[in-house]
């Protein structure tokens, strides 16, 4: 659900393969090795610096055939860590995550105790990485709704761990809470809007 007058996140799509070809070398068709991952991450960060905040970054992996652990650590985990260090005003959604991407992504996220919203099939979004059962449940509820108006937030979180769990999900930038109205938004709604 995406309503008119909603929060203004500057959404843009980052096609990782295009970035890789432009920023590293056109020969590389796979996301392998740490230096390659570092170069891709830095290219994404450079693009993000030009955006008005808060912003959402859609990192598209659909054209990536091979993703190794070292590269996943740089492109996914370090991207999230560094965005947090820079003030946490950028939200991330991984798009085009296929079965063979999942293992390296989940492994590096677990290692750093991170999580990210990922599109794992057409219109299907999941929370990958570390998170408690209550966090996953609440995230799933908001994801299913797409948008929860401010007036309904308290009722939603009451049975699902309360405001603390919600606060964690918002602080980890896995849900977006509109600072003007307090509405909750699933990041997938922005991902679709920015497609």
């Amino acid at each position: 659900m995406k309503r008119d007058g909603g929060p203004q996140l500057d959404a843009f799509a980052v096609d990782v393969r295009a970035l890789l070809e432009r920023s590293v070398a056109s020969l590389y068709s796979h996301l392998v090795t740490r230096p390659t991952g570092r170069a891709v991450r830095m290219a994404i960060e450079t693009q993000l610096e030009e955006l008005k905040k808060p912003a959402i970054s859609l990192v598209d992996l659909s054209a990536v055939a091979i993703l190794d652990y070292s590269c996943a650590d740089e492109v996914v985990a370090k991207l999230l860590i560094r965005a947090e260090e820079k003030g946490g005003l950028t939200y991330f959604v991984l798009r085009g995550v296929r079965a063979h991407h999942r293992e390296p992504i989940e492994a590096v996220l677990e290692r750093h105790q991170l999580a990210v919203v990922a599109e794992t099939g057409p219109g299907r979004f999941e929370l990958l990485g570390a998170g408690s059962g209550a966090e996953r449940q609440l995230w799933g509820m908001v994801q299913d709704s797409g948008w929860v108006p401010s007036a309904e937030v308290d009722g939603l979180v009451d049975g699902l761990g309360g405001p603390q769990v919600l606060g964690t999900l918002v602080a980890r930038r896995l849900l977006f809470r509109d600072p003007r109205h307090g509405d909750l938004h699933a990041l997938s709604t922005f991902a679709v809007a920015g497609a």
């Binding site: 020969l27 590389y28 068709s29 796979h30 392998v32 090795t33 740490r34 230096p35 390659t36 055939a65 091979i66 993703l67 190794d68 652990y69 070292s70 650590d73 740089e74 985990a77 370090k78 079965a99 063979h100 293992e103 390296p104 492994a107 590096v108 290692r111 750093h112």
Partner: protein, 305 residues
């Protein structure tokens, strides 16, 4: 001239014999060294890379490139040629090596001997195996179609191990074999990766030697890296690759062994009789990694799908 006799069967199980021969023949008074491979009848990826590494060590210690006496067996010579041994050996051994080069046509070799000295080499390895590994993994080893991705990731991570931890170039190669005497004639895929760099003990010493005190040595360093994921990098994301390789190799009922200095550590499946940890074996610099993946039972694999 010192003569080092290469074992007739030069593979992951006999590499230590070659290392022993190196140590026994060490003599600064006789800098010229000949590797006599005349009687070699069998060589696998670990053996080929081991021979290149041994030649490199001798050249470094004596200041002279050693000489290599090629096997008399024409099949072995032809095989060395197909595996790209000639191209790599010319950079290590002196004199004319009468080995055929790699043919320009289609090859049945999974991965010829490839030097790993920069990031681009890892990409090259991954690109090359994409073309060949799919067929070999599915038809020869009866692995699921998705295995080519996991296999590529394994290769990428082991090659990066050379770049990040050795501080020196290394080599990688891989090929399938039929083990007539072992595993009931099953096909196996053998990957060898080796370097003559600093090795695990030196790589980890600054960070961890003080912690382990008098227990610190090659075996402790290997246990720390292989079992615990220790790395010299402070970054929490490092040291992950080898753990993931182990996990995947175990899923395929394979064996992975890492030799460094005077120790070797391994994840040993039921079909292999190497000890999980060998300490006090002949000293050799750098690190040598062996991965062996046996064919799956086609019926079991079909049932799993």
């Amino acid at each position: 001239m010192r003569v080092i006799t290469v074992p007739p069967s030069l593979d992951y199980r006999t590499f230590d014999q070659l290392v022993s021969a190196l140590a026994l023949r060490a003599s600064p008074a006789e800098p010229r060294v000949l590797f006599d491979a005349h009687r070699v009848r069998w060589v696998d990826p670990v053996g080929m890379i081991g021979l290149l590494a041994a030649g490199t060590v001798v050249a470094s210690e004596t200041g002279h490139a050693p000489t290599l006496h090629l096997p008399a067996d024409g099949n072995v010579v032809g095989y060395l040629g197909r595996m790209g041994f000639a191209e790599a050996a010319r950079l290590v051994f002196e004199g004319e090596l009468h080995l055929p080069g790699r043919s320009g046509g289609a090859s049945d070799v999974l991965l010829e001997i490839t030097t790993i000295s920069e990031n681009r080499d890892v990409h090259d390895v991954v690109d090359r195996v994409q073309e060949r590994a799919g067929t070999i993994l599915s038809r020869t080893l009866h692995y699921p179609p998705t295995a080519v991705v996991q296999f590529s990731v394994i290769l990428s991570e082991v090659c990066q191990n050379v770049l990040e931890h050795a501080g020196a170039p290394g080599w990688v190669c891989g090929q399938t074999y039929t083990w007539e005497k072992r595993l009931g004639g099953k096909q196996v895929l053998i990957i060898g990766v080796g370097d003559v760099g600093m090795g695990f003990r030196a790589s980890l010493a600054e960070e961890y030697a003080g912690h382990f005190l008098d227990r610190w040595g090659d075996a402790t360093a290997l246990e720390a890296a292989f079992l615990q994921g220790y790395t010299r990098f402070a970054d929490q994301g490092r040291g992950h690759g080898i753990q993931q390789i182990r996990k995947q190799v175990r899923k395929w009922d394979g064996m992975i062994a890492v030799r460094s200095g005077t120790a070797r550590i391994a994840d040993v499946p039921a079909w292999e009789d190497l000890p999980p940890l060998a300490d006090g074996i002949p000293d050799f610099p750098g690190a040598q990694i062996t991965i062996i993946l046996p064919a799956a039972d086609p019926d079991e694999e079909r049932a799993r799908r």
